[in-house]
């Protein structure tokens, strides 16, 4: 269970996000779903994006796939390979989707068209982008179904989604997303709708596919366990912003941001004494329509002080380096907590 690392000899990151802001216009307000996110994923590498529901990670995924609704406004840059994806017209986006970027969504039951056969759906991207004939697409689909581990792939081609189990459907969805061998794969909660055993199988599948196809994978999830063994780097999101990022082992082993630490604390472990109270983070995520000054986690943070409410914490840790450990916290874990009612900024 080795975490996938950057491919040797890669010529720079395949996916590169720089200062991405996504605002979504509602009827009466604007939701600042993503704020100032920057990350990179190299070929053959898996990066995990973690956070609770509503933290903006799904919006990030949609932005990367060019699937944001028309009410969304994006600023910043997203590069896939050499291409710039933001600010580009619908026609170019269509060329990118499916061919350069593949995306796997959460619920395999609803992601598949119930009245269309499996073979057609898997081969669709090939026909759209490479102009493949029906027979060629069918053959390729059978190969792909074999690759994702579906038994008797040729027979499955003519079946309908409701005839397959949840795990098999998710494999079909993955096959459909990867049939054009895209450079980037975005997996948005790919295992959340599955039972635990199937989850493990699908994650194994991702590993194997990455070895075979070498795509850069962005694994978006709220489940830290999924990320722990699979991603070489992790990106923790809170309220649309980057809270902490870095090599998985480092971030999970010595978390600096108070939110990351709290998340890790709330994971149930084998060593937890039987009648101990479960730790949960008090409070609720902030309202993303408000223009927040300061650190968005401050209201729920045990180490917050006055400065946390006024100034957004600058990046600390290994500055700028793509692989380094970076966080945004005025009072990271490694520094002593300020006194509860301190009014002056701590060191």
């Amino acid at each position: 269970m080795t975490a996938a690392g950057p491919a040797a000899g890669a010529s720079g990151p395949v996916l590169r996000v720089d200062g991405l802001d996504v605002d979504i216009a509602l009827r009466r307000s604007v939701v600042h779903a993503v704020r100032g996110v920057s990350l990179e994923v190299a070929a053959g590498e898996t990066v995990g994006v973690v956070g609770e529901s509503g933290c903006g990670k799904s919006t990030l995924g949609l932005a990367l796939a060019g699937l944001l609704p028309s009410s969304a406004v994006t600023r910043g840059s997203i590069r896939v390979g050499d291409r710039e994806v933001t600010g580009v017209g619908e026609r170019e986006l269509r060329a990118i989707r499916g061919a350069e970027v593949g995306i796997v969504f959460q619920d395999p039951m609803t992601s598949l068209n119930p009245t269309q056969r499996i073979g057609t759906q898997v081969g669709e991207a090939l026909r759209l982008h490479r102009g493949a004939s029906r027979e060629a697409a069918r053959a390729a689909a059978a190969d792909m179904l074999d690759l994702v581990g579906l038994p008797r792939p040729r027979e499955q081609l003519d079946r309908f989604p409701h005839e397959l189990s949840g795990g098999m459907r998710q494999r079909v969805v993955i096959a459909a997303a990867l049939i054009c061998e895209p450079k980037v794969l975005i997996a948005d909660e790919p295992t959340t709708a599955l039972d635990v055993t199937t989850q493990a199988q699908i994650l194994e599948l991702f590993d194997q596919l990455q070895q075979d196809l070498g795509m850069a994978t962005l694994l978006i999830t709220h489940d830290m366990g999924v990320v722990a063994g699979r991603a070489s780097r992790v990106f923790v999101m809170y309220a649309g912003r980057e809270a902490e990022t870095g090599p998985t082992a480092e971030v999970f082993g010595s978390a600096e941001h108070r939110y990351t630490a709290a998340l890790l604390d709330s994971i149930l472990r084998m060593e937890t004494p039987r009648h101990a109270a479960l730790y949960t983070i008090p409070g609720r995520p902030p309202d993303l329509t408000a223009d927040l000054a300061g650190c968005p986690f401050a209201p729920r943070c045990p180490a917050a002080s006055a400065v946390c409410g006024t100034t957004y914490p600058p990046a600390a840790g290994a500055p700028g380096a793509a692989g380094g450990h970076r966080w945004h916290c005025h009072h990271p874990v490694s520094e002593p907590r300020p006194a509860p009612h301190a009014t002056e900024p701590s060191r």
């Binding site: 499916g98 593949g102 269309q116 997303a177």
Partner: protein, 321 residues
């Protein structure tokens, strides 16, 4: 699918039976009792007794019902003293004409409403959607007889494009003067389109919000591909069910149209029968029309079952009906 069909068929059978029970009840609601109502007020007690004996109306109710039902099933729907014909032969003349009128109108309505509804859904919340929605809304809210008379006023009287009255006579004469069919068909079609396009629009919007559409887009499919290859098929299945459910509504509209254009169908028949208090004919029409809609609805469900692969394979295909 077999199980689904078997269940639907047995349900339809029960419903048909209940329809017959309802008609039977209506028969006994007649003022003065069925005999007196049908024979007229001048009927003597002897006539009434004879009538009752002949029609099995002199026993306990369940026996009466059985007698009546077996009569109906063997083609005896009573006798109209007003028209001096058996009810079944009157119906045999009129029913095909109504079926023809309603049939053509529905087919046309579907052929127009589907593209219109699709268009509305795609252009949702833009100016063309608002315009079309407003037009269909107003059309939908206008009494059918006004629509019919307006059409006559403009197209028949002022512009002399089409005749204002439908062709009379046997079924074959209907085709002798097709232009006389235009306005009646147009009336029913217009009113039906107004309702159908709204439904198609909702259905398409529902489908467009589904995850599989997002999945298709994520593979690089454009709007045209999404609509034609994915959405249309799924959005149309509910329309098939809609056709079955809307038959009574369409037939009510047909009744009004027949009255306005003097079209010799069952709608006009029952209307005339009401004026003349010809109860056997009225009951006969209600029975036949009721049975027809049950059968029509069943057929629609069968087609739906054939179209939807989930129902084809599964055991429990009922969708909340």
């Amino acid at each position: 699918m077999i199980r689904f069909l078997a269940r639907r068929c047995s349900q339809a059978l029960v419903v048909l039976l209940l329809v017959s029970v309802i008609i039977f009840i209506l028969l006994h609601l007649l003022p003065g009792g069925p005999a007196r109502a049908i024979l007229g007020t001048h009927a003597t007690p002897t006539n009434v007794a004879a009538f009752n004996k002949e029609n099995g109306l002199d026993g306990p109710l369940p026996a009466q019902y059985w007698h009546w039902l077996t009569g109906v099933l063997s083609g005896n729907l009573g006798f109209s003293y007003v028209l001096n014909q058996p009810v079944s032969s009157v119906l045999a003349q009129r029913l095909p004409k109504t079926a023809f009128l309603a049939g053509i109108s529905v087919v046309l309505a579907v052929l127009i409403a589907v593209p219109v509804g699709l268009y509305q859904a795609v252009r949702r919340a833009r100016i063309d959607d608002y315009v079309v929605t407003t037009v269909t809304f107003v059309l939908y809210s206008t009494p059918a007889f006004w629509v019919a008379l307006l059409l006559i006023d403009v197209l028949a009287v002022r512009l002399h494009l089409f005749p204002a009255e439908a062709p009379q006579g046997a079924f074959s004469t209907l085709f002798g003067d097709p232009s006389a069919l235009v306005l009646p068909v147009a009336t029913i079609t217009l009113v039906t389109i107004a309702a159908y396009s709204r439904y198609v629009r909702s259905s398409v919007l529902d489908e467009l919000a589904q995850d599989y559409v997002r999945m298709a887009r994520s593979k690089g499919a454009g709007l045209r591909v999404v609509l034609l290859r994915h959405v249309l098929r799924n959005a149309l299945s509910p329309v098939v069910t809609l056709l079955g459910v809307s038959l009574p509504f369409i037939l009510s509209g047909t009744l009004i149209t027949e009255q306005v254009f003097n079209y010799p169908g069952v709608g006009l028949l029952i209307f005339n029968a009401a004026e003349q208090q010809d109860y056997p004919v009225m009951l006969g029409v209600v029975l036949v029309v009721g049975a027809a809609t049950v059968v029509g609805s069943l057929l629609a469900d069968i087609v739906y079952a054939i179209l939807d692969p989930r129902v084809r394979a599964s055991v429990n295909g009922e969708a909340g009906r």
